[in-house]
């Protein structure tokens, strides 16, 4: 009898890029419709990545490759940890370790735009990290455990105790997904002050690796959104899926309706929301428990 947790972790490793890629395809399609364009096929992200992988490698420095591969493997490993049902706080801490490799991959080139993007990526991490850690703690306060496996099997949905944490998490999701107004480190459009930021010097296979890792990361983050909803009842699963899709749609909507803000404003906004929403929620729940 194979453990369900192993299946779930393996499913993540195998399926996440497809789900992530498909979601990005949807993103492009919906964005296009919002802008009154037809937009590419929903499978376009896959075509792009396949094309990138088939190109010959061009790079500023060889070491970027191993840093990016490390970034990918660590992210996948962290995601697998999450879907395996292990410790949530540890998952978030490991995720920031993976992020360090991304930063290093940006810095190692010594290219001005890439380095600037990397610095901004660091600012983004600084903005969302407290909310991420607090989310982990919030689950612990509400459910008495850090273990994802136990949180899933609890009687009530965590969001009932943690509405403030949920708001904070969805807010920082925009930063984590590098979507406008918080696309500080990798702008969508290459004709701006930071060119393509962090990814400026990533070409061919390297860019494909970055892209695939982003898909893994998005699925992991949406998994956390689902974790807020899921409880021991089977009916919570479809609800969770709806909430996840809605959240994703919300991200697309925000992305399309806002212009990039300065990073000081991003930091201020993210931390304020974290403090006011998650912080106050934490105080209340600690006082009544």
């Amino acid at each position: 009898m194979i453990d369900f947790r192993i299946i779930s972790a393996l499913a993540f490793i195998v399926l996440a890029p497809f789900i992530g890629g498909f979601l990005e395809g949807l993103d492009r399609k919906i964005s296009a419709r919002m802008q009154r364009r037809v937009g590419p096929s929903v499978f376009q992200p896959f075509y792009d990545v396949i094309k990138l992988l088939s190109k010959e490698t061009i790079a500023v420095t060889a070491s970027q490759r191993f840093l990016l591969v490390s970034y990918m493997i660590l992210t996948v490993f962290t995601g697998a940890m999450f879907f395996f049902g292990s410790d949530l706080l540890m998952v978030f801490l490991m995720l920031s370790t993976a992020g360090v490799f991304l930063y290093l991959a940006g810095c190692v080139t010594s290219s001005p735009y890439s380095s600037m993007g990397a610095q901004r990526e660091l600012m983004q991490e600084l903005s969302y990290e407290p909310a991420l850690l607090l989310t982990g703690l919030g689950f612990y306060i509400a459910e008495g455990t850090f273990r994802v496996q136990d949180i899933v099997n609890s009687r009530y949905s965590a969001v009932m105790f943690l509405p403030g944490f949920f708001v904070a998490f969805v807010f920082i999701l925009t930063i984590k997904m590098r979507k406008s107004p918080f696309d500080e480190s990798t702008s969508h459009h290459p004709h701006q002050e930071l060119v393509k930021g962090l990814t400026t010097e990533m070409g061919s296979t390297n860019l494909a690796i970055f892209q695939i890792t982003e898909w893994y990361e998005n699925v992991l983050m949406l998994g956390v959104v689902a974790l807020f909803i899921i409880n021991s009842s089977v009916y919570s699963i479809p609800i969770a899926i709806i909430v996840v899709l809605f959240t994703y749609f919300l991200e697309i909507l925000i992305d399309n309706t806002s212009a990039r803000v300065k990073q000081s404003k991003m930091l201020f906004l993210a931390w304020s929301v974290t403090l006011v929403s998650a912080g106050v929620n934490m105080i209340i729940i600690m006082l009544i428990r």
């Binding site: 490993f77 370790t97 360090v100």
Partner: protein, 638 residues
């Protein structure tokens, strides 16, 4: 049979005095090279005997009339030294901070109420751990200093040559630290406490420049103020309970005896001065003027750890008290604020100093909460911090000797210039903050414990503080690996003895990261048990297994990917500059057709969050918290 106990205390002091008298370089080095291994051997002997005896606490030296006489003489000598120095530099009022506590302690010893006889030395897990840290980390620093000080005086010809003095103080310091952590008698604790204060004063003032003198006196008065609080606490405790045993003090505290609330608060206050918490952080920052080995010594193995040691001992007694809450809050506040200040620093040594203060803050917070799991976390923080900071300080010192700069911006591409030193720096930094290594595990445990204890403020301090900590360490790491267009290797002039110490520290760091689950089971768990009297599974076995897997993955992945992509075939191109690149990645042609040099720097925000801007308000807030603490405790007595 416990020869190593008096040996560890007296031998370094004797060596120190001998080194002071010998003015021949070679002879001095020869003695130091024999003395340091001897100290380490004695530490090993102590550890082996302790475990051979079943790891039960050992109490020694019941009758110590002659030794007490010697200690009294020592106290008077210390006081005279401080008074003379204060008058020499016209800082008259500071001498009072030495005269008053010494007078109080001597009065208690000879004229005060009689207190119970007791064992003066007590060896348990915590003191064994401290001895290992002081002996091994401190010992390595003395070896490093042998080489470093030669180079230092070679470059800094303006500084008067007083190496005999420097090494005397270093060895005195080690002896005093051993005495401090092994004593159970508070009279002895007080003597060694004052000795370390004076030693750090002497080290900081080594260069005798105006800045050094000012900073050394700042360190002196802050630490002596702590000493005064300690002396009052001891006096109060002795008069009211007729005992001067440290263990009795904590035992009374655990039972909730109201009589010891004040001594505990005062001792905690003293510990905060010693471990440079806000509002007393400035003395440790000022200590930067001294040569690097003394910074390494103050930051890693000795001085600041003495404060943490006292707080760990007091922790069971502080659990759930007002003192504990405020100590934890001050610690958490220090952790957050000093890590913010660290972002703004470009000077590597200052970043290290602020990060020391900030990590100490986390340890203080752990001790203030005072539950077994936080002490578990705190002990791990202490172990990791000692090794990592010793490594980083020595490494920055060695790098400075080569590059003539310790600015982080000048370390761009250090991995190509000085591969060895840069990799050591990498190991040190990564061990400091990256998941899943030791420090992060401690943060995990500290967070969980503060949630369990409903420390809302503390949770926020730690969460925000640790995000900021990652920020400044990561940006430093990025600098080290930035590819330089001219990948020139600089000649590494680090001396063999410096390299030896660095390598040992790096290997220790590596092993600690790899083996900490083992260390937890075999040493730290029993340590916590011995402090609290009951066994507590601070970190569940399941987590430990996950951690082992994480550690292996984080170690293995970069290695494997590095070696598998090393020979990758690729087309090299120049970085995009927004203009035409000129010959290499250093220049480009701008829109006026002029050559422009590329200059990359990290974010610092010095004008917004610099020390100059934040330090004073933070000090005021922390000072207010401490005043409140003392008022609550004193008010509780009335």
């Amino acid at each position: 049979m416990w020869w190593s106990v008096p040996f560890l205390i007296i031998f370094p002091m004797v060596v120190g005095v001998i080194l002071f008298c010998i003015r021949i370089q070679k002879a001095r080095k020869a003695i130091a090279y024999v003395a340091t291994p001897a100290i380490i051997v004695a530490v090993i002997d102590l550890v082996v005997r302790f475990f051979a005896g079943g790891a039960v606490p050992v109490e020694l030296y019941f009758d110590t009339e002659t030794t007490d006489m010697f200690i009294s003489v020592g106290e008077i000598l210390l006081m005279l030294f401080v008074v003379i120095q204060c008058f020499r530099y016209k800082k008259y009022w500071i001498s009072l901070l030495s005269i008053v506590p010494t007078g109080m302690i001597l009065w208690l010893e000879y004229f005060g109420p009689k207190y119970n006889q007791q064992y003066h030395i007590r060896i348990d897990y915590l003191s064994i751990l401290m001895c290992i840290i002081v002996g091994v980390v401190g010992g390595l620093i003395t070896i490093y200093a042998m080489g470093y000080m030669d180079g230092y005086h070679h470059h800094h010809t303006e500084v008067p040559e007083r190496r005999h003095y420097f090494f005397m103080v270093v060895f005195l310091f080690l002896g005093a630290m051993f005495g401090f952590v092994l004593s159970d008698s508070l009279m002895w604790v007080d003597f060694f406490w004052e000795t370390t204060s004076v030693c750090s004063f002497m080290l900081i003032g080594y260069t005798k420049t105006e800045e050094a003198v000012n900073n050394s006196f700042r360190a002196l008065w802050m630490n002596l103020l702590g000493g005064l609080a300690l002396a009052i606490g001891i006096l109060y405790f002795a008069i009211n309970t007729g005992s001067v045993s440290f263990r009795m003090l904590t035992d009374f505290g655990v039972e909730g005896d109201a009589l010891v609330a004040l001594p505990i608060a005062l001792m905690a206050f003293a510990a905060l001065t010693k471990s440079a918490q806000l509002p007393f952080s400035t003395w440790l920052m000022g200590a930067m003027v001294a040569p690097t080995p003394s910074s390494a010594l103050l930051h890693s193995a000795t001085m600041v750890k003495a404060g943490i040691y006292v707080l760990f001992r007091l922790a069971p007694a502080m659990y759930g008290t007002a003192t504990g809450t405020i100590v934890a809050t001050v610690g958490g506040f220090t952790f957050l604020m000093t890590s913010i200040m660290a972002i703004a620093q470009t000077d590597a040594k200052k970043v290290l100093a602020l990060s020391t203060v900030s990590n100490l803050g986390l340890m203080v917070a752990c001790a203030g909460i005072g539950s077994p799991s936080t002490i578990w976390a705190g002990v791990f923080l202490m172990i990791f911090h000692s090794v990592s900071k010793a490594l980083l300080f020595q490494d920055v010192g060695a790098t400075e000797n080569v590059l003539f700069s310790r600015d982080i911006e000048d370390m761009h591409g250090l991995i190509y210039k000085l591969p060895k030193l840069a990799s050591f720096m990498f190991i040190g930094i990564v061990g400091m903050y990256l998941a899943p290594f030791g420090m992060l595990v401690s943060k995990w445990a500290a967070l969980r414990a503060s949630v369990d204890n409903k420390g809302i403020l503390l949770v926020l301090f730690i969460v925000f503080g640790s995000a900021i900590t990652s920020f400044y360490w990561t940006k430093w790491l990025g600098k080290l690996i930035g590819r330089t267009a001219t990948n020139v290797k600089v000649k590494d002039i680090t001396k063999a003895n410096e390299m030896f110490s660095l390598t040992c520290n790096a290997v220790m760091m590596f092993l600690l990261c790899l083996l900490f689950p083992l260390l937890s089971r075999s040493f730290v768990d029993p340590l916590v048990e011995s402090l609290f009297g009951n066994y507590y599974d601070a970190i569940p076995m399941k987590i430990l297994y996950i951690l082992i897997v994480c550690v292996l993955v984080v170690f293995a992945v970069p290695f494997i990917t590095y070696f598998s992509t090393k020979d990758m075939k690729y087309d090299e191109k120049l970085a995009y500059m927004g203009g035409i690149n000129m010959d290499n990645d250093n220049c480009f042609t701008d829109s006026y057709g002029e050559p422009k040099k590329v200059w990359l720097t990290n974010y610092y925000f010095a004008h917004k969050i610099g020390q100059r801007k934040l330090m004073l308000p933070c000090q005021l807030a922390a000072a207010a918290a401490l005043v409140i603490m003392l008022c609550i405790v004193i008010g509780g007595l009335l």
